[in-house]
């Protein structure tokens, strides 16, 4: 492992464990009220839910280099980036529960989280993040500022027109954008080799004259290194980069997805590459923490998350008429 301090390593672990525990907890809560008859509209978290278990290292490794002024524009599976970026977890969770205390007072939900304080946004339309991140880059240049934009999409999104348009434009105008493609191999039920004409999207960067790197997200330190270079490049005015991170989708596309299309070995392989476990083993084997210390660290996070969940549960729902508010700033 290159020049990465113990402190940074532990910080990365904290972020990743937090994400994992958060996502697994939401995963359990999602099924409340939905059995024995699975009714997608029922329970404390209704609708679709796309969890990022197994993909923690991409968020942790990239966001470690970001400041609040830097923007992250995400996709539908994005809680990990929200957490790593520093979105306020209380209001984010309340939003996921549809409560008035949520980021959008219940209007947006888990696919539409907006936290302007840390410049985080996301949406449910695949590929929509790329042009929006380009726009942040345009603003940075106009304003002569040194903040950067990170666009996050899956390997499926790399086949959407917006991906190609955005890379071209960012390259042409030398914008401070880092395009992050999380390759978890599956676009719902379609595996990468049946959707993408190349085996690596990082190769596509050449077509736009920008640097492209492929990194295995099993090791967060590898992601951290690659992201550091890309963010520095952007901040120094040297233009955009593409990072493709191999990540491991440990759960279904959405919660409730029976994944009948996914070979058992594929899921098993993903579990064997669990980035959180990998880092844990690194920390223990290098004696950066004892098992006891690690447990304490985990328990602190567990307590924090459990309290946040309780807050979300106890919060009030919005009043129905609030549905009509805030279509426009300043009213009709």
């Amino acid at each position: 492992m290159l020049e990465i301090s113990e402190q940074t390593l532990l910080s990365l672990y904290r972020t990743m464990f937090k994400i994992r525990y958060y996502e697994e907890t939401l995963g359990k809560i999602y099924y409340e009220g939905k059995s024995p008859i699975f009714d997608i509209s029922a329970g404390p978290i209704p609708g679709e839910l796309h969890l990022s278990s197994g993909q923690e290292s991409s968020a942790a490794g990239v966001c470690a280099h970001l400041k609040p002024e830097d923007a992250v524009v995400g996709t539908h599976r994005i809680h990990h980036f929200a957490i790593a970026k520093g979105v306020d977890l209380k209001t984010m969770t309340a939003e996921i529960f549809g409560k008035r205390t949520g980021l959008s007072a219940g209007k947006g939900g888990h696919m539409h989280l907006f936290d302007p304080k840390v410049n985080f946004s996301c949406s449910g339309i695949v590929g929509a993040s790329f042009p929006q991140a380009v726009g942040v880059g345009i603003a940075a240049k106009q304003q002569g500022a040194d903040y950067v934009a990170v666009a996050v999409g899956g390997e499926g999104a790399a086949n959407q027109g917006t991906f190609h348009e955005s890379l071209n434009l960012a390259a042409l105008w030398k914008l401070p954008v880092i395009f992050v493609i999380e390759d978890n191999s599956w676009a719902i039920s379609v595996p990468k080799d049946r959707s993408t004409s190349l085996s690596r999207n990082s190769e596509r960067a050449k077509a736009y004259g920008i640097p492209g790197v492929y990194v295995d997200g099993k090791d967060v330190v590898a992601v951290y290194e690659v992201a550091r270079e890309a963010v520095e490049r952007a901040r120094n005015g040297e233009g955009p980069s593409l990072i493709e991170i191999k990540v491991y989708r440990l759960r279904g596309h959405f919660e409730g997805d029976a994944q009948v299309y996914r070979p058992k070995e594929d899921l098993e392989q993903a579990m064997a590459n669990d980035p959180v476990k990998y880092l844990e083993n690194q920390i223990l084997s290098r004696n950066l923490q004892s098992e006891q210390e690690l447990k304490e660290l985990q328990n602190d996070i567990i307590t924090e998350i459990d309290e946040i969940i309780e807050y979300a549960r106890q919060s009030e729902y919005p009043e129905p008429q609030e549905a009509l508010e805030n279509v426009f700033i300043g009213g009709d």
Binding site: F38, P46, G47, Q160, I188, R194, A323, L324
Partner: protein, 333 residues
């Protein structure tokens, strides 16, 4: 013998039977292969017809929807699935500037036998970008037929008609009517469906409930809200006629006008946004042609010009419902 099928199986059966009959019919879309379509519309097709005719695509709507036009120009009859209608944005140029207009621009020399099927509808907290109805937008562009089944019998007949039509057909199925085990759906939508293929003509509305006091004109899932409201209003001696228009384009103007001439009252119920859409269109039709029949001003219920909110009480507040229909009809009497 007929069996009771859920709407998703009726659609898949229609496609299957047409694919058997006509080798130029094929299907493209995201997760329509092994997955059978996110909302079940292509269940069983991959096993039956193989990957050459049932093609899972990358997330490249512009390419495969525009591609449908190209394939049609060479004698194929493609069916493409746009996973959620809300995603139309990424492919809309191909749909409304090309697929819709090539027949006209070529003065009928080029035909475009493309079916674009897509999922619509709210009510299960999928929020602003996954809950829209939007058929009004497509109905507004000349050159597209717009079909909206409300039950499995209609779904099969209308799909077969759509596939056999030499024109582009937008086929909208409501997620909350498909009859999927994991999404609530009125059981009344799963009706008996004949095993043999059959067609239902476009431009023929269905009077699903006869009445004499008010004409409730609607489509898709709102047909059930209207029927449930009618049952309740019956107890108060109000006799409601419910019309399921089944197709927005072509529209069965005759049935609507005859109904209003009979009842004198018009209520249009729509799950799409209120302004500049279906409700305004039906009311304009009646105002232009049957104004003197009206005993009361025409009324409408639709989503009140706000994006669909996520939180359950907010979403419930904006969606048309049986209760809202009951309340408004009583006001109209």
């Amino acid at each position: 013998m007929a069996r009771k099928l859920p709407m998703y199986m009726a659609i898949a059966e229609a496609i299957s039977q047409e694919m058997e009959r006509d080798s130029s019919v094929f299907v493209m879309g995201e997760d329509i292969g092994a997955y059978g379509g996110i909302f079940g519309a292509t269940t069983g097709l991959l096993d039956k017809f193989g990957p050459d005719r049932v093609k899972d695509t990358p997330i490249s709507e512009s390419a495969f929807i525009g591609g449908a036009l190209g394939a049609a120009s060479k004698g194929m009859r493609p069916i493409v699935e746009l996973m959620f209608v809300d995603f139309f944005g990424v492919a809309m140029d191909q749909i409304y500037n090309h697929i819709a207009k090539v027949t006209y621009m070529s003065n009928g020399n080029v035909k475009v036998p493309v079916v674009i099927m897509t999922a619509i509808g709210a009510g299960y907290s999928d929020a602003a970008q996954h809950s829209q109805t939007l058929y009004g937008i497509f109905a507004h562009v000349p050159g597209l037929k717009v079909v909206v089944p409300s039950n499995s019998y209609d779904a099969k007949g209308l799909m077969i008609s759509a596939i056999r039509d030499d024109n582009p057909v937008m086929y909208f199925f409501h997620k909350g009517l498909q009859g999927l085990g994991w999404m609530p759906s009125p059981e009344e939508a799963a009706v008996e469906v004949p095993e043999e293929p059959y067609t239902i003509p476009f431009g023929k509305a269905m009077i699903v409930r006869e009445g004499s006091d008010v004409s409730v004109v609607t489509a898709s899932r709102m047909v059930y809200e209207a029927l449930w409201a009618a049952e309740e209003l019956e107890k108060d001696g109000i006799n409601v006629e419910v019309i399921d228009i089944r197709t927005l384009v072509p529209l069965d103007k005759e049935t609507i006008l005859n109904s209003v001439a009979k009842t004198g009252r018009l209520l249009v119920v729509d799950e799409d946004y209120l302004s500049y859409g279906l409700t305004g269109e039906i009311i304009a039709l009646v105002a232009e042609n049957a104004l003197s029949s009206l005993k009361a001003p025409p009324r409408r219920i639709a989503v009140p010009d706000v994006p669909l909110p996520y939180s359950r009480p907010l979403e419930k507040f904006v969606l048309p419902s049986k209760d809202k229909i009951v309340k408004l009809v009583k006001e109209m009497m």
